[in-house]
């Protein structure tokens, strides 16, 4: 079976420690996570992981099963790239004088659909969104003109054939309000507490 990029979408409770529980499913098998994004989902209180890896369908199916088996995971889907619509965002920081002085650079930025986010005397930050090849291309283009910093976000992906999670949620459990995340409230109280 052929290895290809797969997009794993996991709907989960919002819990401290769940990220680690999911991450070690990959690291245990020495599989690298290429991209990982956590965000809210269309259902209030339910979290959504987008994970990208390159593996065979069989491996991805087993990984998805292992993720779904975790107590606080509601549902996992996996899709090849053809089945999702996805975007990544990239930021590029370049010296302002280069942009200002070289008409060519301005044209290149326009060609790649880059938008200025911040313009300062010394540097300008541009932003693009798109697939990896697209955001990568602009890095190569800007490199000769003194690219100072570059960063790209994780991939976010929407499943083409999905009806959303509202209905699915009702299918396998009664609707309950999400539990609040219990975080440690005591970290800033060191001086007030006597300990042994």
């Amino acid at each position: 079976m052929e290895r290809q990029e797969y997009n794993i979408t996991a709907y989960t409770e919002n819990q401290v420690g769940l990220l680690n529980r999911i991450a070690i499913i990959f690291s245990r098998r020495k599989i690298n996570i290429e991209s990982l994004n956590t965000s809210p989902s269309e259902v209030e209180g339910i979290h959504r992981f987008n994970i990208v890896i390159t593996e065979t369908e069989e491996v991805v199916r087993k990984l998805a099963g292992q993720i779904e088996k975790q107590v606080e995971v509601l549902k996992v889907y996996y899709n090849p790239n053809a089945d999702v619509v996805w975007q990544e965002m990239a930021l590029y920081k370049v010296p302002t004088d280069v942009i200002a002085e070289k008409a060519l650079v301005e044209r290149l930025l326009r060609e790649h659909g880059a938008r200025a986010v911040v313009i300062r005397k010394d540097y300008t930050v541009f932003e693009t969104t798109g697939h990896r090849e697209e955001t990568d291309k602009l890095v190569q283009v800007l490199q000769p003109y003194g690219l100072i910093e570059f960063v790209r976000s994780a991939r976010i992906a929407i499943i083409k054939a999905s009806d959303g999670f509202h209905r699915k949620l009702q299918e396998f459990e009664r609707r309950e309000p999400s539990e609040d995340v219990a975080e440690n409230e005591f970290l800033n109280e060191r001086e007030d507490v006597f300990t042994m």
């Binding site: 088996k69 107590v71 606080e72 219990a182």
Partner: protein, 576 residues
Amino acid sequence: MQTQPASAPTATETAPTTGAVATLQALVAEGVDTIFGYPGGAIIPVYDALYDFQEQLNHVLVRHEQGAIHAAQGYARSSGRVGVVLATSGPGATNLVTGLADAQIDSTPLVCITGQVFAHLLGTDAFQETDIINITTPVTKWNYQVTKAEEIPEALAKAFYIARSGRPGPVLVDITKNAQMQTFEAPPYRPCTHVRSYLPAPRVRREYIERAAELLNQAERPFILWGQGVVLGQAEQEFKEFVEKSGIPAAWTILGVGALPTSHPLNVGMLGMHGNYGPNVLTNECDVLIAIGMRFDDRVTGRLDKYAKQAKVIHLDIDPTEIDKNVQTTVPVWGDCKETLPLLTTLVEPKQHSAWLARFQDYTAQEIDAVIREELFPTSEELTMGEVLQQLNELTGGDAVIVSDVGQHQMVACRYALQNQSRSHVTSGGLGTMGFALPAAIGAKFGAPERPVVAVIGDGGIQMTIQELGTIMQTGVDVKIIVLNNQFLGMVRQWQELFHQRRYSFVDIQSPDYVAVAAGYRIQGQRVDARADLRPALERMLAHPGSFLLEVMVTKENNIFPMVPQGCSVAEIRLR
């Protein structure tokens, strides 16, 4: 603060309670009667509360936290209930890791409660602080850190529910010291019956049952493999009815042993690397393989690409990730076998596969000639492990709970111990944890106090957790201990002999005088090295009121056969 109500709180009233007391109330409400533990700084408030709970909770003080968790495993395995462990933070908690890994891979329901440093000290490298949540994440079914007393009842309710439901497993709840000390308005305890993100067992799909029955009804050489799922699902009776109606020969994994008595005519023996000859060879000749509550471990399957390739495979399991994990199924039946087996039994036609069953019997006869007779009734001068088990069988009639450690003696115990009923053999199957048996036997006895418990341990394994003799001494628990001493780390030695040109690298292990060690713990003992003394010594051990250690000197260089060598197909099993 509210004043304490004079009457007992009703279903809706709250009562001011410390986190520590709430912890113990939760245990009592969950029906826990025995806990295994060891105190320490970060769990002192719970131990302080325990002082007033001694009527309701029997706390067994072990000698090492690894002993506590193995004992809890033994308790859970012999009783079918949730094993409970109490330990402190830092080293107390990390000492649980081996037991957690063992319970995770062997699906044993445990609730482990660890103390933790004050919440405001988390992440400061405080004294005895360790990140036990992250350390135990890969070896727990679920874990949770509590930093406020109010979270305790709900966290523990969830812990028990998750540990025992679905495919069982160990959970760990880490409670910071401030949460144990804090007083809060505790509502009456509510057990957990539902976690919306967690589906313990699915609704059974009839169409798969029908397809499975159809395959079985057409089969000429069907073969059942069963595992611990039958035991965990408390489906022994349902399983027996299925086997008897379908007339299909059935073989077991070492954790499934006893779900069908050893003496049952359709029980054709043990699967796997050191399993019986017939079940291994005929795995590759059956036309329909039906696996029930087992996970096709590599020690069972041998080389996968030559495993039962000719057969159509039906797999019943409660854990959907086990289906198609190692062996491709023709018909998956996802569900609790307590539910799926009766449905299947209704649809299968009553049959007798006499000719096919006779083939298993032929192989058994060959195995008896080549291996079993000499092992159980040796003509050699030296004692064998097998004859110790044979004599034990004759004396107990198969009614004892056997607890075995890991290695050659484990394979002998699994192969030869008679089992009349389920939950009669506790052993570390998946993880292969040496040192498991002595503490597990202690727990097994607390879990099944009415049954005799016999630990069968090698001279390597017993030295790993021998300090638990102290637990036996202090609690007076009645555990019979048989040390099968071959003066070697025998299983590794066997591999070195067979596959590494007899280069015996660090397997020559010395033993202390076990009878003297036992005497030091005020446990009676005896050492046997002559055949004539074996039977009387076993009789003495079994008749002795209280614990007894019997050391039996056995052949130094004996090998366990049959054997499926690593990397070989099950059909390539060797008799010698």
